[in-house]
């Protein structure tokens, strides 16, 4: 990208820095090219402030029709790649049209920005926040620079958090009762529970607990659902007998999870499920899927 920019727009060098950039937490973020880069982390209602620095290359001047910085919240659907839908758009005009001969610095500030959605990078959809600096030019084309940042929103522990308890079975074959201690887990939480075997008439090889993410995009007839299994955790090895109770203790931390997103801007949803899978000796699978809600707890409280 830089190379391209350099080729066509050798006119100036632009940098965007945040005022608290040195102290602000940086988190890794996967970029489109697959590489990971560290980007600053924000949450909703925070104030984004900083400086933009435009520095023409030596001896050159930049003629422009104005300099502006935008804070954009965008959703990009992969079936419609490159077409961003902006759900948030704030603009700060930094300069009136004129020429820049020398390095010029513009402070900017977006106070208490409402950023209701978290950054999300899914299979079919991406939600990102970006600062976009535009040096508008006429025929020569505008100079644009992006600075991505990440948004994570924290939620308090839910006041109501019932356990998930259910009895399922196949008649005269398998009858189990399972229980997960909560229905809502934060991302570093641990799922505790147990599987109680009421009736076992099949020879089992093992029992796994899968964490699945279901991402649905679009709406109505165009809804597209993508399910991926993020983790497979073996709970049991072998066949239990009737009356056996198998403990569940699954730490969520090692998995790459996000909070549950419901109907984000009518564009997409991300839901999480616990899938209890029993595999018999003939490799038949018996499973029961239960939705859990994930939320992000304030880090210091959760770790």
């Amino acid at each position: 990208m830089n190379y391209l920019l350099g080729a066509f727009k050798p006119a100036c060098n632009i940098s965007i820095t945040f005022s608290d950039g040195k102290n602000r937490k940086q988190v890794p973020m996967k970029k489109e090219n697959g590489q990971t880069a560290l980007v600053p982390l924000f949450q909703s209602q925070e104030t984004l402030s900083g400086k933009v620095c435009v520095e023409p290359y030596q001896g050159k001047k930049v003629e422009h029709n104005g300099v502006k910085v935008e804070l954009l919240g965008q959703i990009e659907m992969y079936f419609d790649r490159g077409n961003f839908y902006d759900f948030t758009s704030l603009v700060r005009e930094l300069d009136v049209p004129g020429d820049i001969y020398d390095r010029k610095t513009y402070p900017f500030e977006f106070p208490t920005v409402e950023m209701p959605y978290e950054t999300y990078n899914g299979v079919n959809v991406r939600l990102r926040y970006v600062l976009k600096l535009t040096v508008t030019r006429g025929y020569a084309g505008s100079i644009v620079e992006y600075q991505e940042f990440m948004v994570r929103n924290y939620a308090p522990p839910p006041p109501i958090n019932n356990s998930i308890k259910m009895e399922v079975g196949i008649e005269d074959c398998l009858h189990i009762e399972f229980e997960y201690n909560k229905s809502k887990y934060h991302l570093k939480d641990v799922i505790l529970g147990k599987i109680y075997f009421l009736l076992v008439r099949i020879k089992m090889k093992n029992m796994d607990l899968e964490i699945r993410r279901r991402e649905s995009t679009g709406a109505g007839a165009n809804t597209h659902v993508e399910t991926e299994t993020l983790g497979k955790f073996e709970l049991m090895d072998g066949t239990p007998v009737r009356g056996e109770s198998i403990p569940v203790r699954l730490f969520l931390a090692p998995y790459d999870l996000t909070p549950t997103h419901r109907n984000i801007n009518n564009k997409f949803s991300v839901k999480y499920y616990l899938n209890l899978v029993l595999v018999d000796e003939e490799d038949r699978r018996y499973f029961k899927q239960q939705e859990i809600t994930l939320y992000r707890l304030k880090e210091d409280a959760s770790s």
Partner: protein
Amino acid sequence: MRRLAGVEDEEKWLAEGIAGIQHNAFFMHRALDANNLREVLKYSALMLSELRTSKLSPQKYYDLYMRAFDELRQLEVFFKDESRHGLPVVDLYELVQHAGNILPRMYLLCTVGSVYIKSKQAPSKDVLKDLVEMCRGVQHPIRGLFLRSYLAQVSRDKLPEIGSEYEGDANTVMDAVEFVLQNFTEMNKLWVRIQHQGPGTVREKQEKERNELRDLVGKNLHVLGQIEGVDLEMYKETVLPRVLEQVVNCKDELAQYYLMECIIQVFPDEYHLQTLETLLAACTQLMPTVDTKIVLTQLMDRLSNYAASSPDVLHEFLQVEAFAKLSNAIGKVIDTQIEMPIVGAMTLFVSLLTFTLRVHPDRLDYVDQILGACVVKLSSVPKLEDARAMKQVVALLSAPLEKYNDIVTALTLSNYPRVMDHLDDGTNKVMAMLIIQSIMKNNSCISTADKVEVLFELIKGLIKDLDGTDTEELDEEDFQEEQNSVARLIHMLDNEEPEEMLKIICVVRKHLMTGGTRRLPFTVPPLVFSALRLVRQLDSQGGDITGEEVSATPRKIFQILNQTIEVLSSVPCPELALRLYLQCAEAASDCDLEPAAYEFFTQAFILYEEEIADSKAQVTAIHLIIGTLQRINVFGVENRDTLTHKATGYSARLLKKPDQCRAVYACSHLFWVDDIDGIKDGERALLCLRRALRIANAAQQMANATRGSSGPVTLFVEILNKYIYFYEKGNPHITPSDIQSLIELINTEMQSDDNGNRRIHSDPFFTSTLRYIRFQKQKGGVIGDKYDLIKL
């Protein structure tokens, strides 16, 4: 899948598994050296994944497990050293739980868990509880068993038992017990479950495999037995009930048997004694196929040994009423386990008996009670045919004999004979022999008629033919041995009191008379002699007739004897009967009972006349008669005449001439008894000798006629000796000239034979006789003078 695979495949899989472990262990070691926790966890998990195999038999799996186990030790060292991996152990404890596969996860967790306890950053009981709980995830029997045994192993030195550094306010020995109990319970469940794997056709193999694994389960009980601080109270209230609950509920034959065995072996005797009731109750609840008898036997053996170890503990047994409880339990077991073979029941009784004899040697009623129960059991089965059962019954019956070293004690046991009734004839005899041997060995004297009665009832297998015995099958030697034993036994019956002794004799006689023809020849003689001993005892006491009421008189005894011997004569065993008659006659003579003596002689003569036909036997018999008659001095002249006349007459009518001759010269003694008041009828003695001489001559001529040569002169020399004897004793009718002429006769006989050929004979007997005469001559004195008259 494993079931169908051959041994070679299994070897291959094992090799693959080992290779897998080595491979990953290599990388693990590299990561360990680099202190790279992530890599360590990754490769250790991979390494442990090799243990997830289902293809190996327990034995092979154990090989694999041991390899992983060794590697885990090094991992543990790494985990212990926080400076190497940089994580607090509590975080490590969480971190290893991220592993996706349960088996590696659990091995790692157990390893970290042990480090965690050691660090004392968490109460050991909490960690232990967590570990034992989390291990539930592994439900595969073999993998689960090994995992849990790993847990048991790494936790063994970290239990909060008394005296351990991990014991504290929050961690009590109870927690340690709780942990081990839970692990034990789970392991046992897994172990029991192995049999439900795979098809039924491989049951046998499974049983074998399960047997190989049993020690993994039993180890927990050993640990329980070793935990410091498990006192009786705790054992009684917690440990035992929990263990037994598991044992009973698992409803598995192999497990129940093995675990009961373990319980009995690992916990102290004292505890067993105090919890006897619980333990025994569990025994009755085991599966019907469980060999409860061995379990109970072991228990009783242990308790017996405990009782024997120190006399101080005996009161404990009394306190807890050990006998009643054991007896009860055995009764229940026998009642409930209907399929139990009779040998089982008998084994139990034997053990109980052994126990009783050790613990309550003074309680004969207990012994009798056991025998009673045994009778009841035996009565419930049609016929005891199992050889092993028989053996047990013999052991059962022998035990009291050995213990008390005294048959008399056994005789007071009312159920003893009733048990013996259930033996088959062969065994009955063996047992009877044992009883007799015991008596012999201990030299015990049975001194009352009642006891004798019981005793003979016991050994009746030897005394008489039992119904349905095929006597043909009996080995002659064995039979003789048996009967000789009975004969010896009769001599062990003794009582100083004549009245009682007589009763004993009567009882014995009553029993012996049922013995049949083959036994009587063995058994009657000792009885007769026993009676005769009584007679002599009475006689020596003298004037015993103190009242008409007294039954033990010699007269009475002789009557009995007469009848007894009479039976023998009809056996037929006339020679023996004759000898016994003569013995009796002599005894009667000593008692001055002329009629009795006469009667016995009469019987003897009748036997001689009617029953003894064999000429050899006749010779023997007549000599016996003569000998006895000679010694008897009770007869009046008339009776004596009759008898001597008879004897002489029979002597002369023997078949062979030499026999006649010898018998006749023997008769000479009947007329000359060298006693102070003996009969001294010299004339008739001489007559006898002359007659003998005549017969000898006749014999000589007969020999000449038939064989052409005269026989040896032995008869003449013998007669010569008689002459010399009577001469020396002073028979006036024997003159030196008689002797001289006899010597000449002998010389002539020796020098000539029929054909007038002279030959020199030297007869040593004759030579020594002549030497005797010369010797007497030289003696001088009265004798010498007498002999001087004989000219040689």
